[in-house]
Amino acid sequence: MKSVSVSVAYMPLVDAAPLIVAQEMGFAEAEGLALDLIPAPSWSSVRDMLAFGRVDVAHLLSVVPVAMALGLGGVSTALSAVSVLSVNGNAIGVSRALEANLRDIGYLFDFEDAHGAGAALATVAPQGLTIGVPFPFSMHIELIEIWREATPLRGIPLKIRTVPPPMMAQALAEGEIDAFCVGEPWGSMAVEGHVGALLLPGRAIWNFAPEKVLATRAEWAETEPHLLGRLIRSVWRASRWLADPASRTAAAELLGRPQWLDVPSEIVDRALTGKLAISPGGELRDVPAFLEFHNSAATFPWRSQGKWIAHRLALRSGLDVPAAMIRAADVFRSDQYRFALDGTGADMPGASEKVEGSLSSPMAVGSTRGEIVLGPDAFFDGRIFDPFEV
């Protein structure tokens, strides 16, 4: 069978793995697809390539398509998130100077307790902090904001600045930023470069934060339902392969190659296993589900995730909240995802919306095949978001 080529823009990050694996391990080919993976230099570039039709599919920050639906930022082409590509996977890190100050007050870098980390950081930086994030519309900013809202960090001046991830370590070394929130491999690269120490995994702030999505133009998804189905299925099978512990070594080796991320496979392995070296001194921390590609219905694009993002953006940008949530409700296309995976044996939750933040431990819920276990999705401060009540 001759494969149909589909162009895909992506940023060279560990969480682009499902797309890279779909192409390299033959999951795309099995669906008659050839993914033409085009690395992009910036998130604006990924967005523009998708919006202007240079590519049909993109590895995109989960917040971007919602922001575009709300008319925030420059471009307003309607995009659809047809699957979630990854959940969690970011790390918050600090400069060596802050690391030293934190150790001086006896902070132990438990890499777990967001309350404790926020309190300690506010104590050593009363004059304020500048925190680098990859993009003005990103889960990184949401995590920092949630963290700030519920810890003593709210009492100090906090500036959030956009810094391209490959330049994060340098910006930290030059004192341009004091801390960062970034996806792998860039947190570990800062540790490797002896310029920073990791303070918290993103999931210490929110257990189940949708990080990257499989994005298409809404119009493309409507007019190419067959291609869309083949795309969603091949990426879903790639995520299942990634979730198998037996695949880890091969996945780390593959992703590290020069044509993909071009970093040592040992660094990639840290994100895949959740066993992270948090400081140049070599302290190790073990974070289960540090970066989740598949389990706990990780790929399911919950409509409530899109609404949660819209709710946050609307509050911060002064937009009408209920109107924003209505406009954003159809960005996360659980319907297209269900249609594509129907009959593949993929188990899917019975509902398409959930109360975000309500699970503090794994729970079985109704699914298309009986029961599916959802992982914890709690926020560290216990807040919940009910998409039906706002």
């Binding site: 604006s44 600045r161 391209p164």
Partner: protein
């Protein structure tokens, strides 16, 4: 007479920056600044309060400029992203041309067009020159590898240089490969046998 525009060009490569500045100067008395150091980019740009920021679309710092275009950015006034405005065709062309421009809201596009056109043309020429330079460099590399492979063949088969090259060329034709590729595999393999 039109008033001068303040234009900031973000470009690390000095020669490219000079070329762009020259192109912009040809369009009239514009106030052009070049930023070649990416440290603290947002702050540096804001210090000039530019009417236009020109940056290579392939540069990772585009996301930093993106932040400046948002209402709450350090420019402290609304900035429109030129490529996404009403001029949709231009947006696409700009994206494909490898140039993007961010323009302060309210600036008349007619004033801007020649500036942007010139910059686009200049970017394209510079990009083409860069591609050609890369190709030349690659050709030189291949030349070196072929010379080494020829040396290996001469030594192993006791032939002269011309005959050694003929042997490499025949092998390449037989295998449907380029001479440089055959030479490369020979050099790599010979390294293993040492």
């Amino acid at each position: 007479m039109r008033t001068a525009l303040t234009i900031v060009v973000v470009e690390e490569d000095r020669d490219r920056a000079i070329a762009i500045v020259d192109a912009l100067k040809d369009e009239g008395e514009n106030d052009v600044h070049v930023i070649g150091n990416m440290t603290g980019l947002a702050r540096r740009i804001a210090a000039y309060s530019p009417d236009i920021v020109l940056i290579d679309i392939d540069h990772p710092t585009r996301d930093v400029i993106e932040e400046l275009t948002l209402a709450s950015g350090p420019l402290e006034r609304p900035v429109a992203m030129f490529v996404s405005g009403a001029a949709g065709g231009l947006a696409r062309a700009a994206v494909e041309a490898g140039v993007t421009a961010y323009v302060v809201d309210g600036l008349h596009p007619d004033r801007l067009k020649p500036v942007i056109d010139a910059a686009i043309a200049r970017f394209q020429i510079m990009r083409q020159m860069r591609t050609e330079l890369d190709e030349t460099r690659r050709a030189l590399e291949e030349r070196k590898v072929i010379d080494r492979a020829k040396g290996l063949v001469m030594k192993a088969r006791q032939v002269d240089e011309e005959e050694a090259y003929a042997i490499l060329r025949r092998a390449a034709m037989d295998q449907g490969m380029r001479v440089a590729e055959v030479a490369q595999s020979l050099v790599t393999t010979a390294g293993l046998l040492r």
